[in-house]
């Protein structure tokens, strides 16, 4: 009989390189954790978030069914992803577990559907080959019930790298339908790059810009309507600096949208009235 497939999203990483909790990083207004839970929930009816004991009541995680890393002696002491996988296998040893890292912003439904369709219960696990080097990808993979005692023994032997576990197991390896789907995001720079790539393309629309003081003189007008695809005032200012040769650096300015101070990353809408505010000198 084929074991029922359940979902486990790993959220317990300490995010030391990112320097903030990766689970709540947002892409397009959705946190990574919410996104992973949603995508997996579309494929598998029962999905849990894997948490450390100290994360149980965090709001981002508390709204989901949880499986808490266990260090109560019933399973070997493991660290990192292996701890989460073992805890899920302990919670339901009869189930197969689709284990998914939460920090895969480019993961798509097709990748998960491919994995599930290709699942072969004769193997200990089903996983993708990494697009970078061909090793098994352990954090978007299906672990059959038969893998549970093997993983426990592996960890008891002092090892905890799930990739090596899959490499040393009878793992069915698949090619990825989308080679970028499993690229994870570990650093602020990677986050920035992926955010930019995932940002929905904006069509050029009309933005009204008013200029004062030095900027008015350099633009040679006090206002203009521009057709711009700039997503934020930061991008718009860069565009207009290229056009008009503004000498003031953006970090010396403030910005107002529709006659109120605004953040440089506030999304721009069609028809917005933008004012870049040079260093002020009243009095």
């Amino acid at each position: 009989m084929t074991a029922v497939l359940k979902g486990l999203v790993l959220s317990g990483g300490r995010s030391t390189r990112m320097q903030r909790d990766k689970a709540v990083l947002e892409y397009g207004g959705e946190t990574q954790l919410d996104r992973a839970m949603r995508l997996l929930g579309e494929q598998v009816s029962e999905v849990y978030v894997s948490v450390r004991a100290d994360q149980v009541s965090e709001p981002a995680r508390a709204k989901y069914r949880q499986i808490v890393d266990s260090h109560d002696g019933t399973s070997p002491i493991a660290k990192g992803p292996a701890a989460g996988i073992l805890a899920a296998q302990a919670a339901d040893p009869q189930a197969a577990w689709l284990v998914l890292a939460c920090d895969l912003p480019q993961l798509d439904a097709q990748t998960l559907a491919t994995l599930i369709a290709a699942r072969n219960t004769q193997h200990t696990a089903t996983a993708f080959r990494s697009a970078h080097g061909g090793l098994p990808e352990p954090l978007c993979a299906i672990y059959e019930p038969a893998s549970a005692p093997l993983l426990a023994a592996f960890v008891a032997g002092g090892r905890d790298c799930p990739r090596k576990f899959l490499l040393n197991s009878d793992t069915l390896l698949l090619d990825q339908p989308n080679p970028k789907a499993l690229d994870n995001v570990n650093t602020p720079d990677e986050f920035k790059a992926v955010s930019a790539a995932l940002a929905p393309a904006v069509d050029a629309r009309e933005i009204r810009v008013q200029y004062f003081a030095l900027l008015r003189e350099q633009a040679r007008c006090s206002e203009e309507s521009v057709q711009s695809a700039a997503a934020t005032p930061r991008e718009l200012f860069a565009e207009l600096t290229a056009r008009h040769g503004f000498t003031l650096p953006q970090d010396m300015l403030k910005v107002a949208i529709n006659t109120e101070f605004a953040d440089w990353s506030q999304p721009l809408k069609a028809g917005d009235a933008v004012v870049f505010i040079p260093p002020v000198a009243g009095g």
Binding site: Q210, F212, A213, L214, T247, L248, P249, D251, M252, L253, K254, A256, T259, E260, F261, V275, I277, P278, P279, V280, A281, G282, G283
Partner: protein
């Protein structure tokens, strides 16, 4: 009448003072900022002020409201002139009335300091030698180009008076 406003006409401090009269108040303090004939070693001939008025009015009103709630003063008014100003003209006027003098002095000082740093007003100096420049802007732009290592990218940090 709102507590903060711009004017293109000469500021009349005597008229503004009457807006602050109140039998509840025993103290009144005011400050006038004047156009002076020099700045940073340059001989100044006249000044030109401009403002982003819709936002300037909002931010000015917020400053007045903050002064009243922070210092418990009774009334506060600030008027800022824009346009071309000659030497000796009043560029900005602040007046505060309150039951006692201490709050009046403090609120008056608070308002002028905050206005100078927060309200979108710009000042262009026209020098005797024919040059001109936007105060706080030209040097920042030049410093940024030169990548001056000790430059602080604050807002309105280069305060001259």
């Amino acid at each position: 009448m709102s507590g903060f406003r711009f004017t293109r006409a000469a500021i009349d401090g005597t008229a503004l003072r009457t807006e602050l009269l109140d039998h509840h108040c025993g103290g009144y303090a005011s400050f006038e900022g004047w156009v002076r004939d020099h700045n940073e070693g340059h001989a100044v001939r006249h000044l030109e002020y401009e403002a982003f008025e819709p936002l300037g009015n909002k931010e000015g009103e917020r400053i007045i409201a903050e002064a009243i709630s922070r210092f418990g003063v009774t009334r506060a008014v600030c008027e800022h002139r824009i346009g071309d100003l000659a030497l000796g003209d009043v560029a900005v006027w602040v007046g505060v009335s309150s039951p006692h003098r201490d709050e009046a002095f403090k609120a008056c000082r608070f308002i002028i300091d905050e206005v100078k740093h927060r309200v979108p007003i710009w000042k262009k100096e026209h020098y005797v030698n024919g040059d001109s420049g936007w105060v706080n802007c030209e040097r920042c732009a030049a410093d940024a180009t030169a990548h001056a290592p000790d430059h602080t990218h604050g807002h309105g940090h280069h305060d001259h008076d």
